[in-house]
């Protein structure tokens, strides 16, 4: 495309099929404790 570039190489909607295993880290345990930042957690389900 000439006018638009998409930055993502992965899309949220593609996680619908395999997501939800719940093995990932609880967001508040990492480094916040007073806010909620979820999008920076990593996924444990690489399979």
């Amino acid at each position: 495309m000439k006018h638009i570039v998409t930055l993502n190489t992965a899309l949220l909607k593609n996680t619908m099929a395999k997501g939800g295993c719940g093995e990932c880290q609880t967001s508040c345990q990492s480094a916040c404790k007073t806010s909620c930042t979820v999008a920076n957690q990593s996924c444990e389900n690489k399979g």
Partner: protein
């Protein structure tokens, strides 16, 4: 729903539901002003220039792929999440309701949490591990954060719980990730070695510049804590080869120029930094107010630009709130339910009482049970289970909902009276952080 904004010369468009992030040239960005919420062009295509028509065709192609103005399709994911058997996978163990510092903004009331000073016993610590295993269902990865007050004031107990957890994980095919959050006052070589051997992550509290830190983080006799703790925290970070730790600070109304504190921490050699806004009662002089927001937005921008500059110079560091993974990150199920407070994540008091999270500890009406008898307040658990992004009107209409996942329930309760409320000042700052984080990605990888 889309969100469009301009920052540092980039025209950025987030397609909220698909999660797609696009960089646009001026022409396409301007043209998007002529689309309504449903993604329909509201001006005649015949009146567009050839170049605008090209841009319109690109917008149309993205719409066809559900990458722009894409519909909300996640109710079925939420239904599945809600149908899951409740499990607990993370505990915040308040091993000491006591502290050796006296920080002005402490939500734990200098460690006491609306109660009395107390230390967790071995019996409670072990029962917490048993409770977690018993209630974790099929989850393998389990987390225990040693928290306080100041957890190093009860470090013998920490070691006993770790050892017991290691024995039990082998028996039950679980994997414990232990973490600790400390002010560093009691750190010594022996404790440091133990933490390095057993803790997956360590959070070290320090606010930034000496005068900023010392104005809020005082010793019991009213002196600043910076000089005492800094060498210990540096040694800790170095001994972990600057991995799996965070130096974590809080900024207040007294240091609205907080980017200087973040950079100060980076200049001290810390490569993993998390500094976030204080959440305090409106009447406190240090609390962030609405009128502070414009200045704070500028600070976040300044910080992002400085980080990009340092990255170029090979002096990069990681700022927790600018971490964003456009090539992966958590699944939509996780993003719908957020931190898991009151459901997957619980806090345990020194006496073994269960609360929805560390911030609810000791608050009237939020006791959920004990580690000995389990979760007894099922009504409260259901209330937390239902507290997802679609259940909060403000979140449902917000473009950032899949990044913050509905924000902090405790902040909602403390500032708005309900766990289903949002704390608007916090939300505005969160949105600004996301915009800056994505701009950094645009600068690093985008070219239009």
């Amino acid at each position: 729903m889309i969100h469009k904004y301009q920052l540092n010369g980039h025209n950025i468009v987030i397609d909220v539901n698909s999660g797609a992030v696009h960089l646009l040239d001026e022409e396409a960005y301007e043209l998007l002003n002529n689309y309504n919420e449903e993604g329909r062009l509201t001006v005649s295509a015949a009146g567009l220039s050839v170049s605008q028509q090209e841009a319109a065709a690109e917008i149309e192609a993205l719409k066809q792929q559900d990458l722009l103005f894409s519909p909300e399709i996640y109710q079925e994911v939420l239904d599945k999440v809600e149908a899951r058997q409740p499990v607990v996978k993370a505990l915040c163990l308040h091993v000491a309701h006591d502290c050796n510092l006296k920080c002005r903004y402490c939500f734990a009331e200098e460690g006491e949490y609306h109660g009395r000073r107390s230390m967790m016993s071995k019996e409670v610590g072990k029962a917490a591990i048993d409770f977690l295993i018993k209630n974790s269902g099929g989850r393998r990865n389990l987390e225990v954060d040693f928290f306080g007050g100041e957890p190093l004031m009860n470090f013998e107990l920490v070691k006993e719980v770790v050892e017991y957890g290691r024995e039990q994980e082998a028996l039950y095919d679980k994997k414990f990730r232990f973490t600790i959050t400390t002010n560093g006052v009691l750190l010594n070589e022996e404790i440091q070695a133990y933490i390095n051997a057993h803790m997956h992550n360590v959070v070290l509290s320090l606010d930034g510049r000496q005068e900023v830190n010392d104005a809020m983080r005082k010793t019991k006799n009213g002196k600043g804590s910076y000089e005492t703790i800094l060498p210990k925290l540096r040694q800790m970070a170095e001994s972990r080869e600057h991995k799996n730790y965070y130096v974590r600070g809080t900024f207040t109304r007294n240091n609205l120029d907080f980017s200087k504190d973040v950079l100060h921490l980076a200049d001290l050699g810390f490569s993993q930094v998390s500094v976030e806004p204080v959440v305090g009662p409106e009447e406190e002089d240090y609390s962030i107010s609405r009128e502070d927001l414009p200045e704070l937005f500028k600070e976040y921008e300044k910080l992002a630009l400085e980080m990009l500059k340092r990255e170029k110079e090979g002096k990069d560091f990681n700022f927790f709130h600018y971490m964003i993974d456009l090539s992966g990150g958590p699944c939509v199920a996780k993003r719908l339910v957020g931190c898991g407070a009151g459901t997957e994540y619980l806090a345990v008091t020194p006496d073994g009482e269960l609360y929805p999270c560390h911030q609810f500890t000791g608050l009237e009406g939020f006791k959920m049970g004990t580690v000995f008898e389990g979760v007894m307040n099922h009504e409260l658990r259901e209330e937390f289970e239902g507290c997802h992004v679609f259940a909060k009107k403000d979140c449902r209409e917000c473009w950032a909902k899949y990044y913050c996942s509905g924000g902090c329930a405790a902040n909602g309760y403390n500032m708005g009276g309900s766990i289903y409320s949002v704390y608007d000042i916090g939300c505005q700052l969160q949105r600004k952080r996301i915009e800056c984080a994505i701009m950094i990605k645009a600068q690093e990888g985008g070219n239009i």
